[in-house]
Structures are given as structure tokens and as C-alpha cells.
């Protein structure tokens, strides 16, 4: 560390908070513009998708286990699985696949 930990912490936390806080505090009016409203409707799903693919395929020890975990997540989500169920069972699938791979 070149600086005190506390200065690093202050910079890191400060920037992260300001990015979240400033737009949330400043935008007080309801937006009426149809294009902006539509843009804001799509944004959450677009952001989460971009963050998930392709990153999910390198989130575990092997690409194969991640791919199977991903497939399990998509199927469960399609058939209405809750956030918790999807997250837990895709983790379980990864664990099982990696366990089997060790013995074949």
C-alpha cells in the first residue's frame, strides 16, 4: 500500500456512493418523455444480461460446470423458480458436475 488504508477506503467508498446518490437525489420529477421512459424500462434487463454473459462461463472452476450451471438457472427461471432457488440450485449443479468430473 502506498497510502494509508483509510485514504484508499475513502476514495473507493466515496466515488461508489456519489455515483449512486447524485442521480437518485437530483431526478425528482417524473420523466414524461416516452423514449427515455422506454429506455429506462429496458435498462435493468440489458445491464444484467451484459454482466452475466459471457462472464458466467468463467465464474467457476471449469467452463463445462459453469455452462451446466447456467443451463440449470435458465430452465428453473423459465419455469418460475425464485431468485433463491435459481441461485442455490445452479450452485448445486456446478458442485455436482465438478464432483463427477473428478472421477471420470
Amino acid at each position: 500500500m502506498n497510502y494509508s488504508f483509510w485514504i484508499y477506503l475513502l476514495v473507493m467508498a466515496g466515488i461508489t456512493y456519489l455515483i449512486r446518490m447524485i442521480p437518485f437525489v437530483l431526478v425528482k420529477e417524473k420523466i414524461k418523455n416516452r423514449f427515455i421512459l422506454s429506455f429506462l424500462h429496458y435498462i435493468p434487463y440489458a445491464v444484467l444480461s451484459v454482466m452475466t454473459i459471457p462472464a458466467i462461463f468463467s465464474s467457476t472452476a471449469t467452463t463445462l460446470s459453469a455452462a451446466i450451471g447456467f443451463a440449470v438457472a435458465v430452465l428453473l427461471a423459465y419455469f418460475g423458480g425464485s431468485l433463491l432457488k435459481v441461485a442455490a440450485l445452479s450452485s448445486a449443479a456446478v458442485f455436482i458436475v465438478e464432483f463427477i468430473m473428478k472421477y471420470i
Binding site: 485514504i7 429496458y42 434487463y45 445491464v47 458466467i56 459453469a66
Partner: protein, 236 residues
């Protein structure tokens, strides 16, 4: 617009995020202490930042003796997506949310909290939002502490399996909406295609991932906002 403002409904909706966070924060705790931070330092980073990607990028800069500018730019680029989310969430909150509440809720406006609040029918009120952010914040802090203090007792196979948990949650948020609404499905497909381009195509893959996320998501959303604008309800 009808406003959801029940604290306990917030708690109920926040619990799955909390459980997901415990596992992801656990992995972060292991990573940060392995990188050379103390348990207390690792915990403080989680409690003051409450964001996975930014923290993962920040730790090597801190332990590697990086400059403050480098740390600031990395956090700015990786976390800029939250500015978009905060604008979006500002349109979703009800009349019960006061100015002081905005300052507090913004602190825990994470990807998952934002996604769950966005997916609610109608407006979200202050009690609901406080319930929604409470357990994810605690889970994020507690998971970090566990991972930092005791992470190395877990076998690598368990840590690997937990690595996918957060993405599983993202999938669980996107798929139901993409199933229900075709333009959203197409928007998601376009966003994914762009994301792959920015990951694998030479030159483009050198764009910092924080910027790439914003470019891909904003481009896909803008195209579909133009091609399939949503219905605007009067009197809201």
C-alpha cells in the same frame, strides 16, 4: 399509481438477495484477505461500498500500491452503471420516499436491489425499500466477515460452486420478463451479442469492462426504446 409500502414485504423480497450475497461476499472475503488485507479492512470495504465488481477491482489496486487516481477511475468506470439505475429507480419510488430517504437508500442501490424494485408492479415506498435493503446489506457484511475470517476452511469445490450464485440470480431476474415481453427478449439478445463482441473481438476487448457494460446495455436499450417504446399510462 399504487404504492407498495410494507416493510415486511421488503424484507421478504430482500431475503433471497441476502442469501445470494452471503455466498458472493464470502468469496470476496477470501479473495481480499488472500490479497493481503486484514479481516477488519476487508469488512470495512464491504460495509462502505456494497458492490461486488467494484470491490473486486479495487482490492488489487490497494494491495498492489496503486495510485488514488487509478482507484478512483476504476471505481468510476465499473460503477457508472449505478447512475443509470439510480435514474431509473427515481421513477419507480412513491410519494412516501422523502429526501433524507433518498440519501440512505442510494447507499444500497445494488444491481439486485434495483432489479427487484424495478420488477415490482406499481410504485415502491420508503418502508418497503428499507425492508428490501436491510437484509442484503447485512448479508453482504456478514458473508464478507465469514469469508475473511474463516474462508480457507472451505474446500475449493464449494468456493467454485458459489461463484455462479450471483449470476444465477441475474438469470432469475431477466428470464421471467424476457418470457413475458418479446421486445425485452430481443433487447436482451442484442445486449448479450454486444457483450460477446466487447469480450472477444480484438481492440474492443481492451475497453474497460465498466464502460463496455454501459455501452452494450445503453445501445440495446436505446434501439428498443426507439423500435418498441413502452405504453405511457396517463395520470401517473
Amino acid at each position: 399509481m399504487k404504492e407498495i409500502n410494507n416493510f415486511f414485504r421488503g424484507i421478504t423480497d430482500g431475503l433471497p438477495i441476502c442469501v445470494g450475497y452471503i455466498s458472493v461476499a464470502f468469496a470476496f472475503g477470501i479473495f481480499a484477505t488472500d490479497s493481503g488485507l486484514s479481516v477488519l479492512e476487508t469488512l470495512l470495504i464491504s460495509m462502505t461500498n456494497v458492490t461486488s465488481a467494484g470491490q473486486l477491482a479495487g482490492v488489487p489496486i490497494i494491495t498492489g500500491g496503486g495510485t488514488l487516481i487509478e482507484l478512483a477511475v476504476a471505481q468510476f468506470v465499473i460503477n457508472l452503471r449505478y447512475a443509470l439505475m439510480s435514474v431509473s429507480l427515481s421513477q419507480k419510488i412513491g410519494k412516501s420516499v422523502r429526501m433524507i430517504d433518498r440519501f440512505i437508500i442510494a447507499f444500497v442501490n445494488t444491481d439486485e436491489v434495483f432489479a427487484v424494485a424495478s420488477a415490482k408492479e406499481g410504485a415502491v415506498g420508503r418502508n418497503y425499500l428499507y425492508g428490501l435493503i436491510l437484509t442484503p446489506f447485512l448479508g453482504w457484511s456478514f458473508g464478507t466477515l465469514l469469508g475473511a475470517a474463516a474462508g480457507n476452511v472451505l474446500p475449493a469445490s464449494v468456493v467454485s460452486a458459489l461463484g455462479i450464485a450471483i449470476y444465477g440470480m441475474f438469470v432469475a431476474i431477466v428470464i421471467p420478463e424476457a418470457k413475458k415481453d418479446r421486445p425485452t427478449l430481443l433487447c436482451v439478445i442484442m445486449a448479450i451479442a454486444l457483450s460477446c463482441v466487447f469480450t472477444y473481438v480484438p481492440v474492443l476487448n481492451s475497453v474497460p469492462s465498466g464502460f463496455a457494460i454501459i455501452i452494450c446495455a445503453a445501445a440495446a436499450s436505446a434501439v428498443f426504446a426507439f423500435v418498441s417504446p413502452v405504453e405511457v399510462k396517463e395520470g401517473e
